[in-house]
């Protein structure tokens, strides 16, 4: 058997990451550009079989999966070994993965085993003069680089929300092929002991709407409860603001983000940080509240489709990026905005 493109469908407990289907879409597009050929997919771990069946609906021709007990929880070595074995058998020209945590690690491992290179976090793919050219943002997105991997397979990870996911047609179906694990338990040095701190809610990387807060949220007119020192009171005031943002995000079906300044000040956890040292996001709608828009933050969200900025400082750099701006008090505007959206979206 062989395939032109092999796509790794990253999934967790039976739910594929949205970015994985987008990688599949990229793979199908590439197959077309490269003169046709089969697209195959690989799914690993608990719940893989269900995801594998789903993959046919997205138009994949062959789907492989493994729910071997040694692969129940993700570990780079056994997952990587299986991916590499399949890649050697199918000898694809391109190996595609989403730029998820697992995707990047597996891309790295596979590249070493397959003696090739990785083009990570790619936003565009094209064929120029018979060569596959991948465009990647570099220097935190300040520059775009066209890159080529001169060895085969070209291992590529696709950035979330940069490629369209294929249309789903439930009438398309097929029988996924089950694979045995490559490594035995005794050959694996790591052991997953448990899970902690599940995120819950919409993940920033996948969110179509993000409502984000900055240091300006500390300017909350509400008085903090007694017994708190200055710093605690400031954090309380800002956290009330983030609760308000969470409400708006809920109405819009989005996620809550934060600037580095807000995270450093202790208003919200680092999981929410958008920016150069946080997450890179590209939602359709980004609402920045009380965020000044420092370069580091811009690097994280500038590719959002529509940016709305609410800040009482009319000179804040964020307004240069914004499609719509409101110079005003976040605490006056937000409650009104929540009400107005509720009315218009029929969620009153």
């Amino acid at each position: 058997m062989s395939a032109k493109i092999l796509v790794f469908i990253d999934q967790f407990k039976g739910a594929a990451l949205p970015a994985a289907w987008e990688a599949l879409g990229a793979g199908q597009m590439l197959a077309g550009l490269l003169g046709g050929g089969e697209v195959a997919a690989l799914v690993i771990g608990t719940g893989a079989q269900a995801v594998a069946s789903q993959a046919f609906g997205y138009g994949v021709e062959s789907v492989y999966y493994s729910e071997d007990p040694s692969l129940a929880d993700y570990r780079p070595e056994p997952y990587g070994a299986l991916l590499v074995k399949l890649a050697r058998e199918l000898a694809p020209q391109v190996l595609l993965l989403p730029t998820s945590v697992r995707g990047r690690e597996l891309a790295a491992q596979a590249a070493i085993d397959l003696e090739t290179g990785v083009l990570a976090d790619v936003t565009e793919l094209a064929v120029e003069n018979g060569k596959l050219v991948a465009t990647r943002p570099v220097y935190s997105g300040k520059v775009l680089a066209k890159t080529i991997c001169q060895a085969t397979p070209q291992v590529i990870t696709t950035r979330g929300r940069a490629f369209a996911r294929p249309a789903f047609d439930s009438s398309r179906s097929g029988a996924p092929v089950s694979l045995a694990a490559v490594l035995e338990e005794g050959q694996i040095a790591a052991r997953v002991v448990g899970y902690t701190q599940s995120e819950g809610g919409v993940s920033l990387a996948d969110a179509a709407v993000i409502v984000s807060g900055g240091r300006g949220l500390a300017n909350n007119p509400a008085a903090a409860p007694g017994g708190l020192d200055e710093k605690q009171a400031e954090i309380w005031r800002a956290q009330q603001g983030f609760t308000l943002l969470g409400e708006l995000a809920g109405v819009l079906g989005g996620a809550v983000g934060a600037s580095r300044a807000a995270v450093d000040a202790g208003y919200i956890s680092y999981d929410h940080q958008v920016g150069q040292t946080g997450k890179l996001v590209s939602p359709d709608l980004y609402i920045a509240c009380g965020i000044s828009g420092a370069i580091q933050h811009q690097a994280g969200m500038r590719s959002s489709k529509v940016i709305v900025a609410i800040n009482k400082d009319g000179e804040a750099p964020i307004f240069k990026l914004a499609r719509f701006g409101v110079v005003g008090d976040v605490y006056a505007i937000l409650p009104a905005l929540i009400e107005a959206f509720k009315q218009r979206l029929g969620k009153a």
């Binding site: 990047r104 891309a107 070493i112 520059v143 680089a145 066209k146 040292t277 529509v306 719509f324 701006g325």
Partner: protein, 257 residues
């Protein structure tokens, strides 16, 4: 116990970086330790403090990378080594990984190798995992916390999109760290005094007994991102309610909801 931390020198994160005449340029912006690597150095030092282990900082780069290594020394690393060779000028991640692996082997008896999650110039984020694979060591990625460390194993929390996984792993292992690991310490003045007097050895490919690894990833073209054509429209109104309603109208008209 021996701990290695791999660092890279990159342009200052606030630098204005542009594509100019086919090259990436950052003017006279200073070069500094890759910000993500500061967390790796901190993680290495925290474990070394707990285990009374020795930390060696290594970097592949030109002579100027010694400054980043000096920062690592000033933060508290005991040793620093520069790996430099003209043949590595445009080396890609997998070539660098092979060089780092060779250096780690040459240092010998290393138990843990720390990496930052990615370098802010190339933004590939694969060098740590690649180095692990070349060494044949397990990879623990995006570690947010180290729960326990003994002479032969480590227990960490790895971050994923869904949450954190707690993993027990035999040593030696490669660990890449996220920002959650801890706030990097400032160099202490004592560390600064030691670092400024330190003589940092340079290893060439010959010293590593390695032929120049071939690079397979090339960058034939760099360009500036298209200028964002944004006409900013300021939304106003007499009351907060009015402003909000105007804003909602305009957002809905963009068809992003």
């Amino acid at each position: 116990m021996k701990i290695v931390v791999a660092i890279k020198q990159t342009p200052d994160s606030a630098a204005k970086v542009v594509a100019d005449g086919g090259q990436v340029a950052w003017g006279d912006a200073p070069l500094e330790m890759n910000p993500w690597d500061e967390f790796a150095v901190e993680a290495a030092l925290l474990q070394a403090d707990a285990q009374e282990a020795e930390v060696t900082a290594i970097s592949v780069g030109g002579e100027s990378a010694k400054e980043a290594l000096k920062t690592a020394l000033a933060m508290g690393a005991q040793q620093a080594i520069l790996i430099s060779d003209p043949a590595l000028a445009n080396a890609d991640s997998q070539a660098i990984a092979k060089v780092l692996a060779a250096a780690i082997r040459k240092i010998g008896e290393v138990d843990l190798a720390f990496f930052g999650r990615q370098a802010i110039d190339g933004d590939m984020g694969v060098t740590g995992a690649m180095t692990a694979r070349v060494l044949g060591w397990p990879m623990l990625g995006l570690v947010a916390a180290v729960q326990a460390l003994s002479t032969d194993s480590i227990r960490v929390e790895c971050s994923f999109e869904e949450g954190r996984q707690v993993v027990d792993c035999k040593l030696p292992a490669v660990v890449s760290v996220s920002k959650d690991i801890s706030e990097p310490r400032y160099p202490s003045f004592m560390g600064i005094r030691k670092a400024s007097r330190a003589v940092i050895p340079t290893w060439s490919l010959g010293d590593l007994g390695l032929a120049a690894p071939a690079s397979v990833v090339v960058w034939p073209q760099v360009a500036n991102p298209p200028a964002r054509q944004v006409t900013t429209e300021m939304v106003s109104g007499g009351t907060a309610k009015e402003i909000a309603e105007n804003l909602v109208d305009k957002i809905l008209a963009e068809k992003v909801l």
